[in-house]
Amino acid sequence: MKVDSIKNGFVIDHIPAGKGIELYNLLGLGELDCQIATIRNAPSRLMGKKDIIKIDADIELSLEVIGFFDAGITVNTIKNEVLVNKTHMQLPERVENVCKCKNPRCITSTEQELSHIFRLTDRENRVYRCLYCDSKLKSYI
């Protein structure tokens, strides 16, 4: 299968197989009108199978959201068809309005205008806790 190379933009690589569409939706890529390719179950030496997203536009990409989604993802930045930067994701210390707190006793359950903020409390086990009520949330995957 052939997908054209991109001129200026990003290749989001090493997405766990089958999860590309979820990340596509989480990043709100459906709202953009540039060329975007999502490749599912591409062969990978490291992972066996992986998903890839190619974005042919120099958009503002939220590395925080991608890192929270999966810290194994790599983001390649392309300028004039040349790879200029390869960023290995890390779990962000804090994420805002990516996931909602599910604790019915949390203040965010009744006060709709509050941001849903989670902070990383255990990097090894990928544990995030709600800033307000300390409820546990596993990272996205």
């Binding site: 006793r105 203040i107 709600c130 307000y132 300390d134």
Partner: protein, 306 residues
């Protein structure tokens, strides 16, 4: 400007300083009687509480300050749908410090993020209750002479009991503490507290369902109420509420130096007959709560008393 939302925001050095101030207040009350003159404490209680609200109010009056506030959500603008953030901003215009109790977890944090005056968490649902922990720590210090070197048993509802969680977290920073967790299977201490606090800090602990078996080993027995309001299901509450009742018979096997603590209110988990036992420390705990709240108000208002 500082608030107090979670007991772990205070270092052990700060806890020691608060305890020292509280003990000085006990020794020299008149020295502090005008220390907050002209200052106002707003008690914003969105759910009922007798002890904590009156303790805060008594604390502020004994410091020479004044108190305003409300004692249930229905008599505040929350009933009209006002947000916690707006309430905090509004009260900041009237008072110098806020003590807030709210049924929703995290509400006092939201208040502290929006208020321009210090906010004290006076209990947010089943989450945090740092001033109860301050009362507990002063009680342990005064009963045992130190916050280190003893065996403490927690008995009853260890799953939903926020006072237990906060006290365990606070004690985990002191030396040579052994913890005995006594509860029915359904109300055991949550795994994340065992893992994140006890195991992480190398605290020796055992779990049991049998109070009689372990009572003789304890220096402190911290009893808790099985709280109706923490259950979604009434049948579960009725089934578990009488699981652990402390009676004079049970106390026969306890050390003569045991201190029995309870955050109160009790229902029937400590027999009234134990109130006259010199080992009962739970009403002293109430009094200690007032002194620690006085010390905390002074600290957060940055009032120095010479």
């Amino acid at each position: 400007m500082r608030s107090l939302i979670d007991i772990l925001e205070l270092t052990t050095k700060e806890l020691d300083e608060l305890i020292a101030v509280a003990e000085d207040i006990i020794e020299n009350p008149s020295k502090y009687s005008e220390s907050c003159k002209g200052k106002k404490l707003a008690t914003l209680f969105f759910e009922p509480s007798t002890r904590t609200r009156l303790s805060f109010e008594a604390a502020m009056y004994e410091l020479g300050g004044n108190v305003l506030g409300f004692s249930e959500a229905n008599s505040s603008s929350a009933a009209k749908g006002e947000s916690v953030a707006d309430t905090a901003k509004t009260i900041s215009c009237y008072a110098d410090i806020i003590a807030m109790r709210h049924p929703k977890e995290g509400a006092p944090l939201v208040a502290s993020m929006n208020a321009s005056i210090p906010v004290i968490n006076a209990g947010d649902g089943g989450h945090n209750h740092p001033t109860q922990t301050l009362a507990d720590l002063l009680t342990i210090k005064r009963e045992k002479g130190s916050l280190s070197n003893y065996t403490i048993g927690f008995c009853g509802d260890l799953k939903f009991g926020r006072t237990v969680h906060s006290l365990i977290a606070a004690l985990s920073r002191y030396e040579n503490i052994k913890v005995v967790l006594i509860s029915p299977e359904e109300l055991k201490l949550p795994d994340y507290i065992k893992k994140d606090i006890l195991v992480k800090n190398g605290i020796e602990f055992v779990e049991t369902t049998d109070l009689d078996k372990v009572i003789g080993e304890l220096d402190i027995l911290y009893m808790t109420r099985v709280q109706r309001e923490r259950f979604f299901n009434e049948a579960d509450y009725i089934r578990l509420k009488d699981s652990y009742i402390l009676t004079p018979k049970k106390m026969e096997n306890a050390k003569p130096t045991l201190s029995v603590m309870h955050p109160l209110p009790r229902v029937n988990e400590i027999s009234v007959a134990i109130d006259n036992d010199p080992r009962a420390a739970y009403f002293k705990q109430v009094l200690n709560g007032k002194y620690m709240r006085m010390a905390l108000i002074l600290k957060l208002l940055e009032v120095e008393v010479k």
